[in-house]
Structure formats: C-alpha cells, structure tokens
Amino acid sequence: MHIKKPYLLLGSVAIWILLGRLLHGKNTLQIDTYENTSFTRFIGEKALELRGNRTESPAFIYFFNPIRAVIDGFVQFIRNLIAVPAPNSVIPVIGWLGVVALIAFAVFATSALRTALLSVSLLLGCGVLGMWQFTMDSIAMTLAAVLLSLSIGIPLGIWAGLSDRVLKILTPFLDLAQILPTLVYMAPIALVFMIGAASATIATMIYAIPICIRITSHAIRNLNQSPVEASESMGSTRKQTLTKVQIPMAKQMIVLGINQTVMAAVSFVVVAALIGAPGLGKPVIEALIIRNVGQGFVAGFAVVFLAILMDRSTSAAAKRQESFIPPTQAQVKRKRITLIVSAVAAVTSVFLSRTMLWAAVWPKEITIAPQVEKVTNNATAWVLDNLYIFTVGFKDLISYSILNPLETQLSASPWYVTVAMIVALALIIAGLRTAILAFCLAMAIVLSGLWYEAMLTLTQTIVGCLLTMVIGIALGIWTGRSDRAEKTLRPFLDAGQTLPAFVYLVPMLGLFGPTRFTAIATGIVYAIPVVVKIVCEGIRAVPHSLVEAATAAGSTTRQIITKVQLPAAKKTILLATNQGLIYVLAVVVIGGFVGAGGLGYLVIVGNSKPELQGKGLIAGAAILLLGVIFDRIMQAGAKRSG
C-alpha cells in the first residue's frame, strides 16, 4: 500500500512528540559548559601540543611557517603600496589621489565612463566617512586574497571542467566549503598560521576558491560543443583546443567567476578582523565592543561602498558587449585619445600623491563621520525607545509559542529518539542513501559529547529558517510578480547581502535583549536577501503560458499565486529554503556573543579559555555536521521533487 508522503511525515512527527513527552529529560546528554568529555579533553591536549611545537616541529618549520611568511610578505607589499607607510616612511608608496586616479583609469579603460565616475565617488565616500586607511587596508587584503585565489581556482576550475574524474573528487569539498560557517574554521586556521594577515588571507581563500572553481568548471562544461568538436576534428592538440577555443569562448563566464570571487573576498572583510586582519572589520568589531552603533554603521557603510565598487567594476568588465557594428575610424581615434589623456592624468596624480602632502594623506578635516554617527545613533535610540515594547512582545510570543516547545522537544528528549526522528525524516524526504548519511553524521555529534548544545543551535536555526521563509517567500512573490517591486527592493537586498552581520548585531541586541531571539533575528536579516532573490527568480521562471492560461480561465490573483506560480516554483523554493537554513545557521552561531548559547558559544569560549579549547574546536565541527545533514536532506529532497 502506498501512503502519501505528507501523512508519513505527520505520522512520524506525532510519534516523535509522543516519545519525547514520555521520555522527557532522559538521556539528554547535557553536560555543564566548563566540563570536558574525554574526547574534547583529548582534542584540547593535542591542540596545546600543536601550539608548543610551532617553533620546533618540522611540519611547521618547513611547511606552515614558510607559507605564513610568504603570504604575510605579499599582503604587506600591497599594503605598503596603497595603505600603510613602509618602515621609515610617513606615507604609503601611492597616496590617496593616486589610488583614486589609478582605479578610475582602470575602470574607465575596461568598462565605461559612468562606472569609473561611480567608482571615484564610492572611494571618496569611504574617505569622507573617515575610513580611508581602513578601506585601503581592506582593498589590499582583498586584492591579495583574490589574486592568490584566482591563481589556484582558475587552473583547478579549468581542470575540473575538462575532466569528470577531477570534478568528482572536488565536488564534496566544494559542497562542504559552501556550508562551512565562517566562524567555524577561523580557530583551526589561527591555531596553525597564528593571528594576523596570513591567517585572514588563507581563511578568505578557503571561502573564495570553491566559488571560483565552481564557476570556471561550469563555464568550460557548458560551452557550445560544436566549435570544440570542429577544432578537434581539424587536428588541434588538446592544448590548442583549450587555449584557442575553450578558454576564449568561456571568457565571459570566467570573468563572472572572478567577480564572484572578489565578492566572496569582500564579504569576508569583517569576519577576518576576528583573527587580526587589518581593514574595515576593525572599526566594526570595536563598535560592537563599546556598543557604539553609529560607529559600527559608519564602518559598515564603507564596507557596502567597497562591495559596490568591487562588484560594479568587475561585473562591468564582464558585461561589456562588443558591438556588432565595428567602430568607425574616428571613434577608435577618439577613444584612443581619451585613453591616452586619462592615462597621463592618472600617472600625474600618482606623481602628485607622492610629492604633495595634501594628495598623499587623506585630509582629516574632510569628514562627515561624526554626523553620520550621530544620525544613526539617534535613529537607533529612537527605534529602541519606541519599539522596545513591541519587539519584546514579539520576542516573547515567538519564544513561548514556537521556540520553547521546539527546544524542549529537541533538547529534553533522549538523544536516540531525536536521532531516529532525523533519520526517519531523511528517509521520507530524501531516500535511503541520505538517511544512512544522516544517521552517521548525527551519531558523530552524539559521540562528540556536544549533542545537547547541538540541539539548542538546531532549534534556533529551524525557528530562524521558518520565519525567514515566511517573510522571504512573501517578498519573493511580490518581487517576482512586479518589476517595480523588484527595482525598489533590489538596493536593500544588495546592501543586506554585503552589510556584515556584526554591524546589526548590536541594534538587534537593543531590540531583543541578550536572548536566543537576538541571534535568530540577526540570522533572519542575513538570510532574507538571498531567499528573496532565489524565490523571485523561481517565480519569474514559471512559463508565461501557464499564468496566462490561468488568467484566461478567470483565476483570481490569489489563485494564480497559490495554484500556479508556487507549485511550479516548488523546486526553487525548496532550494531557497536550503540556502536560508545554511545562511541562518552561519549567523545564528555568532549569537553566542549575545546570549544565545549553543554551539556558537562553545566556539567562542574555546577561543579564550585554554581548558575548553578542545570543546570549542569540536563545537565548530558539530556546526558543520549539522549543516551537512540539513543540506543533504534538502538537496536530495529538491532533486526528488523535480
């Protein structure tokens, strides 16, 4: 007999709740925060040993330390060029005017005048916000990380594009890297490469390289195959086919990959400050420390400016369409002359920025930072004073109605009941293979000794994801159906995607107090833009004929949405949910800073208390395992529903 999936799901949830009630409080595996299990103590001892060995062990002397030195040197070189004075100097090699002029020229030459003007105003904007040097530091760090990422990512991506075997070996790592919350791998990297620019660059690369590999291999794989076959049939060698046909044809897509790599690196700017990276992250984190919301936003705006600058300048280069009408002689000449003139202007500016102090060091008097700070502080204070009652009410409503019951169900049930439930869900939604994987990963969390904390984090992630999807799907439908809505929301979505979560962590704290909900709310704000964008795409991809047919049949708008567009976009919505879950998980764990507890808190506490270091490292691994379980179940579910 075939039972429908929804009934199966409902049935297993009912059994789970019943068992949870019956066995309430048994085998919850809860241990006090200061206690280690024998496993976490073992890991902690190993980590301490590693620390002690850094000056003696050959692995460090011949491998890790040289890598650190080379990357440190590279970053320092770029920083000395544009950001900080080299030893015995008072200005960097190129002063602010020179940097502005060079970037303007580079953007102008590769794309268009408009983009160049935009770049200049964004750069000047960062300067006016009083963030010139931090911005230059961030550009230097980003540049270093991007160059290194591309030099590894593009060749690997091309290789994976050509060989199925390489792609198959790389895919699990690429998937894993996409799930990995940034907070998690900072500690292990800092353990090996120590605090500083090198660790930050390597952490950024781990985040950026997978994206570069994915897009590059995708570019090579999805080429129109006939020119490739033609080239092969004419007797080209593999190398000739690659360099003369495949790479030039895939160029546009590869440049898009570069754009995405740059954006990944930029989005890392703030987090990197946690392990000692110079740049805009520093003022953001400091603002969190002294609870100066305004200062956090000033630095946050500079991060957004930097992100827009990087995005527009690299994507404009990618989009630049070669016109089908060849330019006339006069046009070519004109373009050439403007290029030469602007090149001369750029070089002159560089020269000026080295010889004139006003062009070398950003003039401190030109700043609007205090004003911006004051306005945002006042605005936040107003919001906090007037909305606090509502936000606390809302927080309590969600806490009593969803958060507490779910947390009790997950954390106060015996571990074997919850593991069985997870496996059952995986079996129903995603099939046998995923169920086996889910079982193994869940058992790994149980054996690590951090099951209880994992359940706290899981609760917060699920609630955060639910709320994200409610808001995200609503906004996604709205933007998917109306171009105007899309246009209005777009800037907010873009800004939301680049504004670092740390910037709004403190305002959230003001709104909701030191609670789990602060973490959840921060996760929601972080995840909504990506969910809205994916849902919007999904709604737009529904064939017009379907919608038109429904309209012709006299359906109301509501009927069209619920009966036609949502069902047709089901797969995309499932994928959006998956992205939402992963995004919420990545940010919920930084809620450990504001009273949310769970695995994130253990990661944070492990960083500062040597005796809990092992526990912190394992907590990081457990976050990753949770992410993989979610991801696999949702991905397989989405595939099946397709």
């Binding site: 006090d32 925060t33 200061y34 620390r51 002690g52 850094r54 004075p85 030893p87 015995n88 008072v90 200005i91 090699v93 190129i94 020179g98 060079l102 020229f105 030459a109 590769t110 800092a190 120590m194 605090i195 500083g196 360099t243 790479i247 160029k251 590869i254 440049v255 392990i275 000692g276 400091e286 969190l288 420390i289 609870r291 290029l339 070089v347 560089v350 020269f351 080295r354 010889t355 070398a360 606090y388 806490s399 009593y400 958060l403 507490n404 704290l509 107090g513 030191p514 609670t515 450990g592 800073f593 504001v594 009273g595 949310a596 808190y601 944070i604 506490v605 960083n607 500062s608 208390k609």
Partner: protein
C-alpha cells in the same frame, strides 16, 4: 592572459606598471620627512574587548607615541591563548590587563611571554541585581534569599526558572557551579559579551524590570549606573583561586590584574619596555577614561585628557 582579458587590460597593466615604476624612482614626501622615530622601535599592543582595557592600552599607546616617538600598532584581538600565540609569533608585544589568573603559564614556561607585574587595577567579580531591586527588596543581596525572589527573574528564555546572566566568554565564570551548589532555582544564560550585559543592566534599571547578572570592577557600567554596587549579591567569603577547583558555594576572589609582554619587548629593554613595566594606576583612573570613552570621545582624546591632567604620574612612568 591576453586572450582572456583583451587589449584594454594590457593597456591598464602597462599604465599601472608605469605608475609604479615612476613612484619607485621619484622622490616623495618621505625623503624630506626623514625617520619619524626616536630610539624607540615599533611595537604592537593587543586590544581586548572591554572598555577598561581600551582605556589603559590607549593611555600607554599615546604616551609611547608622543613622549617616546615609538611606532605603536593596536591590534584588536581575543584575550587569552590567541593573544599569547601572537606574542610568541612576535606580532603582539603588550597585554596591558589580563584577568586570566595564570592561564598564560604554558607560554611563560616556554619563555615566549614574560609577566610584567601588576597594573594597579584590582579585579572584583560578583553577581549583581539591578539596584532598584536592592532598594525594594533589601534582603535580596544575601545569596541565601535569592530563591525567595527567583520567580521575579523568569523570562521567556529561562525555562520556568530565574534567568541568571553569566559573564562574557573569556572571563572567569563559575555560575553553573554556584547555581547547583547553592541549589538556586535559576538557569544560567551565557551572555557572551560585555555589550549583552550592559544592555541587560541598563534596561533593567531604566524599566524597573528584574535582572541578575555578572559584573566586575573596574567597569564603566559602574559610572553609568552609580549605585550598581548596592546590588552586589553576597555569597560566603571566597575560598578558591583556581576556578576549576571552586566548589561554587562561595564568591569570586578579588584579583590584581597582570601585565604581560613578549620576549622581544623584554629583551629590547628600551624606553617602551620600562614604560610598560612602570605603568600602574587605580580603578578610578581607568573608570574615568573609560567613561569619557563611552560618553563619545575617541579613545585617543579620552586618554590625552587623562594624560594632560596627570603629568606627574606620567613622568614617573617615564622614569623622569
């Protein structure tokens, strides 16, 4: 490269290269300025995540820059092991205030980190209720009576018990032990950061809501909520120094705060070394600077204000 990016990129590359070569050869502001530093080298001070620390570190940094001509970098960094590692690696030279009660022992034993004496501040840790509660319920400040009031402290997050807000991640905390050893009907909530506790105490005092949380002195919050001390909940006198061996029945000990320096700075033995070794001030000094900082001054301004008002103390640190 050329096939990938086309001719314009080549043009850009050439121009940028030309600009760089030009900047390499041309003379610059640097040449006329000459070396900025005196006989003091360049050092890095770790900047830890609390207002009082920022106050102490910025005062030292400003004196070193203005009086000694040192080049000082201030690197924001987690306290504890990550910082000791950085000191071992030579990227951090000074920790001006460490509460860690000897957690640096491994690094000191290896010779990577050197203890540079007490900084004059005395750390006092305890559990505090919002002061309005101490006024309304005078016996609440005796730990034996906490259970009587536990119901007041219930929140949506405390699972039917009172909410007990524990200190930030890296701090010495034994809340879980205190709650279980004294059989308190409270649930420990890990605030995670100073910001979370400041938020909790100020809102509770302003809105007259119940709050019990971890607090320490010196701390700027005591300047913002002047009668916070009246909310100190007293447990039996302390009988431990190592938190791992604490029973939880008794209160936190008071501890003198320690300065740590890197081996590099210790060996250099230059004016900056002696400035750091001589630096010593009171809790009131630190609270004053930190309060200015919280009031909206930049760290450098607040530090300078204190330095100008205490020229003689600064002189004694400089050994003049």
């Amino acid at each position: 490269m050329k096939s990938l990016f086309g001719r314009r990129s080549a043009v850009v590359t050439v121009v940028i290269a030309a600009a760089l070569i030009l900047s390499g050869c041309s003379k610059s502001v640097n040449d006329s300025a000459g070396g900025a530093s005196g006989d003091c080298g360049s050092y890095a001070i770790a900047m830890h995540a609390w207002g009082g620390y920022t106050a102490s570190a910025t005062v030292v940094a400003e004196i070193a820059k203005k009086e000694l001509g040192c080049t000082i970098t201030q690197t924001t960094l987690d306290e504890g092991p990550t910082t000791y590692d950085a000191m071992e690696a030579g990227t951090i030279d000074v920790v001006i205030e460490d509460w860690g009660g000897g957690r640096w022992k491994e690094w000191v034993d290896r010779g990577a980190v050197v203890e540079a004496g007490e900084n004059g501040n005395v750390g006092l840790i305890g559990m505090y209720v919002a002061p309005w509660m101490a006024a309304k319920y005078p016996d609440i400040t005796d730990s034996k009576n906490l259970n009587k009031y536990a119901d007041l402290f219930k929140t949506a997050d405390s699972g039917g018990k009172g909410a007990w807000f524990e200190g930030p991640a890296g701090y010495t905390t034994i809340g879980e032990k205190m709650v279980s050893a004294n059989k308190l009907n409270f649930k420990v909530i890990f605030s995670g950061s100073e910001a979370a506790l400041v938020d909790g105490f100020t809102k509770a005092e302003a809105n007259k809501t119940a709050f019990i949380g971890y607090a320490w002195q010196p701390w700027t919050l005591f300047a913002k909520i002047p009668n916070l001390e009246s909310g100190h909940v007293h447990f039996p006198a302390n009988d431990w120094t190592d938190p791992a061996k604490a029973s939880g029945l008794t209160d936190y000990p008071s501890s003198p705060l320690i300065k740590l320096i890197s081996k590099k700075l210790n060996d250099a033995n230059d004016p900056f070394t002696s400035l750091v070794k001589n630096f010593k001030w009171t809790n009131d000094d630190q609270n004053g600077v930190a309060a200015d900082l919280e009031g909206g001054m930049t760290a450098a301004e607040a530090a300078q204000k204190w330095i100008d008002a205490h020229a003689d103390i600064v002189k004694s640190w400089l050994g003049k």
